[in-house]
C-alpha cells in the first residue's frame, strides 16, 4: 500500500499492518516529553498506575520551561515534584537550570528527536518535530504518564491533508506567514483529527528551522501532526545535533490524501492572525496602524536563531517606541550564546528591548509579559486566544519576527518595508 508520511512512520513503530485512516494501532515511542505544568499530573498518573520505573531513562525528557525560574511558591512546588521524580528515576534528560530552554527548540538541537521517530509530549506543540520528519503529537498528562511506564501508546491513524506550497516569497515573508495563511484558509478546525503533510518548492527552499515553525502550528488548525519529508537539509541538521543513522524519507507516490491544498506564496504579504483565533488571518496592510503596547519575540514557534536574526535585522540602529515593551526571549541557552556571538544581543539592547532568559512565560500569560486590560500585543507566538497573554480585555496579534520587531519600533502594526 502506498503510504503517507504519517502512515509510514507509524508503520515503523508497530507490529500491526497500518492499513489506513481510522485504524487504531499500538506504537512503541521514541521519546516521551512533559514540562513543569504537565509533568506533575503525569507523575501522579504514573504512580496511580503502580509504575515503579520509567520504560527507558534515556527516552523520557522533562523540561521545566513554562514557569521557570519559578514565578511563585506554587510553581516552585510543581517543579520540585518533577525534579524529585527525575532524580528518583534517573531520568537523563531533565532540564531546569542554566541548560533549560523552550522544550520544542531544545530537544531538536540536542538531537533527542528526529526523522522517523514517534514522539509524544504533554504539550500541544510537540507537533513541532514534524519539521524534522517525526510523527510527534501532543497528548495529556495521563497518556504521557502511561507511555513513560509502558514505552508505547495507541494512535488512531489519521487521514492526511496534503499541502503543496510553491512560489517565491518577497522580503519579510516566510514560514510563519505560510502557516498563518494556511490556517486562515482551512480554519482552526480544518485539520481536526488529521495529519498535515507539507511539500512543494517553497517548502523545499525553507530551512529546517522554518519547517519547525510551520509544524509547530499544525495544532492551531486542529491537526494531530504537521509532517515534512526528510531531505539533505534535515540530515545535515540532525547530524549537527549529534544524531547518526537518520535517512531520507518521502511519502510514497500514490499515497491517498483526503484533500490537497495548494498555496502560491508569490506576492504574499506578511500575515497577521487577529484576535481571538489563529484563523482570523489578514495581510499586514489591513491591520497596519493599530497601536501596540507590547511585542514578544520568542517561543517554540519563533524563538530560534533565524528568528533572532530576522528581528535584529529590523531593529538594528533603531529604537523601540517609548510606549512599547519589546520582549526578546531566545528559546535556548545555545541560541542565546549564538545571538551574543553574532552581536544580536547588542542590537536588541541598543534598541531598548527587554532581553530575557529562555522561557515560555509570556506566550501563555504565565509570567514575564502579562497584558493589562485594554492592552494589545504583537507576538511571534502561536495562539491569540482571548486572555491568552493576560487580561480577558487584552488582545494578541500573531506575526513573524520581522513584523513584530518593526511594530515595536513604530508603536503600531506595520510592514517592515514601511518603516
Amino acid at each position: 500500500m502506498a503510504q503517507t508520511l504519517a502512515e509510514k512512520i507509524l508503520q515503523r513503530h508497530t507490529d500491526q499492518e497500518v492499513a489506513g485512516p481510522g485504524q487504531i494501532v499500538q506504537c512503541r515511542v521514541s521519546l516521551v516529553l512533559a514540562n513543569d505544568i504537565t509533568a506533575p499530573l503525569a507523575i501522579k498518573s504514573f504512580r496511580a498506575m503502580g509504575a515503579e520505573k520509567v520504560f527507558d531513562r534515556d527516552r523520557v525528557a522533562l523540561v521545566c520551561d513554562h514557569f521557570t525560574p519559578n514565578k511563585d511558591i506554587d510553581s516552585a512546588e510543581q517543579v520540585k515534584v518533577v525534579r524529585d521524580f527525575a532524580r528518583e528515576m534517573g531520568v537523563t534528560h531533565y532540564y531546569e537550570g542554566g541548560e533549560v530552554g523552550v522544550e520544542h527548540a531544545l530537544l531538536p538541537e540536542r538531537g533527542l528527536v528526529g526523522p522517523g521517530d514517534v514522539v509524544i509530549g504533554a504539550d500541544s506543540h510537540t507537533c513541532t518535530y514534524g519539521g524534522l520528519g517525526a510523527f510527534a503529537t501532543g497528548m495529556g498528562s495521563t497518556d504521557v504518564g502511561a507511555a513513560m511506564a509502558l514505552g508505547e501508546t495507541w494512535f488512531k491513524v489519521p487521514p492526511t491533508i496534503r499541502v503543496d506550497i510553491s512560489g517565491t516569497p518577497e522580503a519579510h515573508v516566510g514560514a510563519k506567514d505560510y502557516m498563518l495563511n494556511l490556517i486562515g484558509r482551512i480554519g482552526v478546525a480544518g485539520a481536526l483529527y488529521k495529519a498535515l503533510e507539507f511539500g512543494g518548492s517553497a517548502v523545499d527552499a525553507l530551512s529546517v528551522e522554518g519547517r519547525m515553525t510551520m509544524a509547530n502550528m499544525a495544532i492551531e488548525a486542529g491537526g494531530k501532526v504537521g509532517l515534512f519529508a526528510v531531505d539533505e537539509k534535515t540530515l545535515t541538521y540532525t547530524a549537527a545535533a549529534g544524531r547518526s543513522g537518520d535517512a531520507r524519507m518521502e511519502p510514497d507516490l500514490g499515497a491517498e490524501y483526503e484533500r490537497v491544498v495548494t498555496i502560491d506564496v508569490t506576492g504574499m504579504a506578511p500575515q497577521i492572525a487577529c484576535p481571538h483565533l489563529p484563523d482570523n488571518v489578514k495581510p499586514v496592510n489591513e491591520v497596519a496602524g493599530l497601536q501596540v503596547h507590547q511585542a514578544v519575540i520568542g517561543s517554540c514557534t519563533n524563538g530560534r536563531i533565524e528568528d533572532m536574526r530576522e528581528a535584529a535585522a529590523v531593529l538594528r540602529g533603531r529604537k523601540v517606541d517609548s510606549r512599547v515593551r519589546c520582549i526578546v526571549l531566545p528559546a535556548t541557552p545555545s541560541i542565546w550564546k549564538q545571538a551574543l556571538a553574532e552581536g544580536l544581543m547588542e542590537v536588541f539592547m541598543d534598541a531598548g528591548c527587554i532581553v530575557g532568559p529562555p522561557t515560555c512565560g509570556p506566550c501563555l500569560g504565565g509570567h514575564m509579559g502579562i497584558l493589562a486590560g485594554g492592552e494589545r500585543a504583537i507576538a511571534t507566538t502561536n495562539r491569540n486566544f482571548k486572555g491568552r497573554m493576560g487580561s480577558l480585555e487584552s488582545e494578541v496579534y500573531l506575526s513573524n519576527p520581522a513584523v513584530a520587531a518593526a511594530s515595536a519600533i513604530a508603536g503600531e502594526i506595520v510592514h517592515p518595508a514601511d518603516l
Binding site: 506533575p40 503502580g50 481536526l192
Partner: protein, 163 residues
C-alpha cells in the same frame, strides 16, 4: 450512567485557556481547578452551575493546549458530561482518560438551548431534551476506547498492563 441536568451553552472553538487559564495551572487539585472552570470565558461563570449540570458547546470544543487540567476542571465543577458539535483531538482523548464523558452530536447541537433540561444516557448515547422533547442519538464509542472506559480509565488500563 444516566445524567439529568440543566444545559449551559457555550460557543464554537472554546479553547483550553477559556476553560482554565494558565494562571490557575499551579495546582492539580480538582476542586481548586473546578472553582475556576471557564474563568477564561467569563469571570464567575462557575456560579451558575449546579452539580450534574451539562456543558453544551459548538465546534472544536477544547482546542489549544494539552493541559489535562481542562477536563479535570470541568469534572471539578461538577459537570459530568459535555455535549458538542465536535471536539478537539487532545481534549477528546484527555477527557476519556479522566472519565469526563463527551458526546459528539454534530448538527443536532442546534436542538439544545441554554437552560434546557437534558437527560443523557452515556451508555446508549441517547440524549433527550426534556424542555423541547427532541431526542438525539450519538455514535457509539470506538471499541478500543470502550476497552479503556471499561477498565475504568487509562490509569486502570495501564495498571493491568503493568501487572
Amino acid at each position: 450512567m444516566k445524567v439529568t441536568g440543566t444545559s449551559h451553552k457555550v460557543g464554537d472553538h472554546i479553547d483550553t485557556d477559556a476553560i482554565i487559564p494558565a494562571r490557575f495551572l499551579v495546582t492539580t487539585d480538582p476542586a481548586e481547578l473546578g472553582a475556576n472552570c471557564m474563568e477564561g470565558l467569563e469571570a464567575g461563570w462557575i456560579r451558575r452551575v449546579k452539580p450534574n449540570d451539562i456543558m453544551v458547546a459548538g465546534e472544536n470544543f477544547g482546542c489549544g493546549s494539552s493541559r489535562e487540567h481542562a477536563p479535570i476542571s470541568i469534572l471539578g465543577a461538577g459537570i459530568p458530561v459535555v455535549i458538542a458539535r465536535s471536539f478537539a483531538r487532545i481534549f477528546y482523548r484527555n477527557s476519556y482518560n479522566m472519565g469526563l464523558v463527551l458526546m459528539e452530536v454534530g448538527d443536532d447541537i442546534e436542538k439544545i438551548h441554554d437552560g434546557d433540561e437534558l437527560e443523557v444516557d452515556t451508555a446508549s448515547g441517547l440524549i433527550v431534551n426534556r424542555t423541547t422533547g427532541d431526542r438525539m442519538q450519538c455514535a457509539p464509542v470506538p471499541p478500543f476506547m470502550q476497552e479503556i472506559l471499561d477498565a475504568g480509565g487509562l490509569v486502570e488500563y495501564a495498571k493491568r498492563k503493568l501487572a
